[in-house]
Amino acid sequence: MKVGLFIPCYVDQFYPGAAIACLQLLEKLGVDVVYPKNQTCCGQPMANSGFEHLTGGCNDLFIKNFSEFDYVVGPSGSCVLHLKEHLHNHDNPEIATTLSNKLYEFTSFLTDVLKVKTLPARFPHKVGVHQSCHGQRGLHLSQMTELVAPEFSKPGSLLNMVKDIELVHLSRKDECCGFGGTFCVAEEAVSSKMGKDRVEDHLHNGAEYITGVDMSCLMHMEGILHRQGSKVKVLHIAEILNGE
């Protein structure tokens, strides 16, 4: 099984630790992983701003970089969802469909393809889990509070394999953090208020770390935590699952 590692642009530039953890954990689990060096961005920032028609270049590049792999795995529910919904190729629609079917968000690749049952990780801390909307509601990584359906959580099931971790209860367990791509600057007032409220829920319930499947939401909350002088840290879920 040959896996292409898709690292979203902002993770590549700002959070190499999250990407390294993904790579190392996949290697530990015996997967043959390659990071194609010419990758850039999934095109979501443009598409969500109404400029999906400008994402042809990103689509072509993604297809060029990743078509050869059996699976493509990325540590971001949001970027993966965008590609699954919108990756296309005008001349060869088939190639885009095939590729998006092979595309997995990192935790769901672990639970659904590798069917991981145990992990050699330990993390003796109180952790708040942020349910990133696109991973949760878009990719159905976990049950949503709006629906009448049985409980499940792919990221949660993995975190439960981590020794000595304590997951904190949140009063609103799947409310949006307000990042929303360009929303965070276009609607600065509402976006930062949403972020403050989300962070407050974790702090109030005693989290020492906030984790999730999307670094973009975590970057947003980290920006607020830093500004408040909080010692609480954000970590991508891969960094916890890859620990010790």
Binding site: I7, C9, V11, D12, Q13, F14, Y15, P16, G17, A19, L23, Y35, N38, Q39, T40, C41, M46, A47, N48, S49, G50, F51, H53, L54, G57, C58, D60, L61, C133, H134, R137, G138, M144, T145, E146, L147, V148, A149, R172, C176, G178, G180, G181, F183, C184, V185, A186, E187, E188, A189, V190, S191, S192, K193, M194, D197, E222, I224, H226, R227
Partner: protein
């Protein structure tokens, strides 16, 4: 208030709303409480998701056969003795109401809550033509006294605190200053409205469901004000959008179970009143209004927004709505559903609304008729950009982004430059021109990107 009137886009209006953080918290928690009540109510129905799917399919059938259902409804309503009018837009609707009132020399009308008449700005039109209108729904009455638009389709005055309502009643209804006891204020409004009901000869109501099979219509209220108005008046006018049709009476069993559980967490509204024929010597009119709906029906990506039954669940759950208030949407129908309906009416004026969302998808999940609201918000963004209703600067920056991200070399250079700037000259980014920086710090730049690390540490 004047600050609000000078601004017309959601982000600016939301910023004004957020100047009072305590109020934002109060607004957010009030609506979240209703969302939570909804969750409790829907979890008592084990086949809730099937019920939503059924409702969605019934409405799908309605939208696909709308013209024949409307004709069937008209024919049955006429047989029942109801007068049926057709209005192509708000202007025609308002004129029809005025003509009916004039015919009977009526200059005072009582109205129960109708979002369609808000959409048509009926009150203003009638006031300009010398007709006095009193809204009989309590929340609607409060915003009418405050000379405001409803901020929510089900809870029109949810943005007002009880103290503010007390002050309004003190000014307009003569209650003692400083009395904000909800029980007392409600009783005052009730007594005041009792007189209105007894003296008005015309009553206007909305329509929740119009049944093609029988030619009857159903109005759902908690206060009984629609019944009080309609039964005491000589002339009952009911205004409905063309999409309010349901095929058969038995389908009400699906929609009535969904409507109020979604709206407020109640099992059903206190009153679900069926109106089928006028009482002896009285008149009943139905005005069937298009006002842009058939255009929306023709938009493939947006047509199922017409499935909406106006429960307001998408507003209660929307984290943006809760923290920006209904008035920030500057439209009669606010929140996520308003944001996908409004651009159909005026794409330029409402170009901002589809962007007033993080696309979190919670609206789509609570929608009792399964409208793909967040997907439509995304699609409206594409339509609005293609039609040129975004600032030129945004287009330029998107083109630069496209150029950078389509080229690995340009991307690596830009990434390196960006991290360099953040590390050695953070003031270029961390200043008041960067909206991110106002309430949030930028991430600390790492010494190398993952790509650079990978090159050093892996051979493939």
């Amino acid at each position: 208030m004047s600050e609000i009137q000078n601004k017309t886009n959601h982000a600016d209006l939301a910023e004004v709303f957020n100047n009072d953080e305590a109020r934002v918290d109060w607004h957010d928690e009030t609506l979240w409480w209703i969302r939570s009540k909804r969750d409790v109510a829907v979890n008592k129905i084990s086949n809730w998701e099937d019920l939503r799917e059924t409702a969605s399919q019934i409405k799908h059938n309605v939208l696909s056969n709308l013209s024949s259902y409307l004709q069937q409804f008209e024919s049955n309503a006429l047989t029942n003795g109801i007068t049926v009018h057709w209005a192509v837009d708000a202007k025609e609707h308002n004129q029809i109401v005025l003509d009916i009132l004039k015919k009977h020399s009526i200059d005072q009308m009582v109205k129960s809550k109708s979002m369609l008449t808000e959409e048509c700005h009926l009150n203003d039109f009638l006031e300009e033509n010398g007709i006095n209108v009193i809204d009989s729904d309590l929340g609607e009455r409060i915003v009418q006294l405050a000379k405001e638009m409803p901020s929510h389709i089900v809870l029109p005055c949810i943005h007002k605190k009880k103290e503010e309502i007390g002050e309004l009643f003190h000014q307009h209804l003569g209650t003692p200053a400083g009395n904000a006891d909800p029980q007392f204020l409600t009783e005052t409004a009730r007594q005041h409205l009792r007189d209105t009901f007894l003296t008005r000869r015309a009553a206007l109501t909305g329509v929740n469901f119009a049944i093609a099979e029988t030619g009857e219509f159903v109005v759902c209220t908690n206060e009984g004000n629609a019944d009080m108005g309609a039964h005491l008046a000589n002339v009952h006018i009911a205004s409905m959008g063309i999409e309010k049709i349901i095929p058969e009476r038995k389908h009400l069993g699906v929609f009535l179970r969904l409507l109020t559980r979604s709206a407020t967490g109640q099992p059903i509204t206190t009153y679900s009143s069926h109106f089928k024929r006028p009482n002896k010597g009285k008149e009943m009119h139905i005005i069937i209004v298009d006002n842009g709906r058939s255009i929306q029906l023709g938009r493939e990506d947006f047509r199922n927004s017409l499935k909406c039954i106006r429960c307001g669940a998408c507003m209660n759950t929307c984290p943006v709505y809760r923290r920006s208030g209904g008035h920030s949407y500057h439209n009669a129908i606010s929140g996520p559903i308003g944001s996908i309906l409004a651009p159909n009416l005026d794409m330029e004026k409402y170009a901002d609304l589809p962007f007033a969302s993080t696309l979190c998808g919670s609206c789509t999940n609570v929608c009792p008729v399964k409208i793909d609201i967040h997907q439509q918000l995304y699609k409206w963004r594409q339509v609005i950009v293609k039609n040129g209703y975004v600032p030129a600067a945004k287009t330029v920056s998107m083109k630069i982004m496209d150029w950078t991200l389509s080229s690995p070399t340009a991307y690596h250079t830009a990434g390196k430059a960006g991290r360099f700037v953040l590390k050695y000259a953070p003031v270029i980014v961390n200043n008041k021109l960067n909206p991110w920086y106002k309430h949030r710090d930028m991430p600390e730049p790492p010494k190398e990107s993952f790509g650079e690390w990978y090159k050093k540490n892996r051979n493939n």
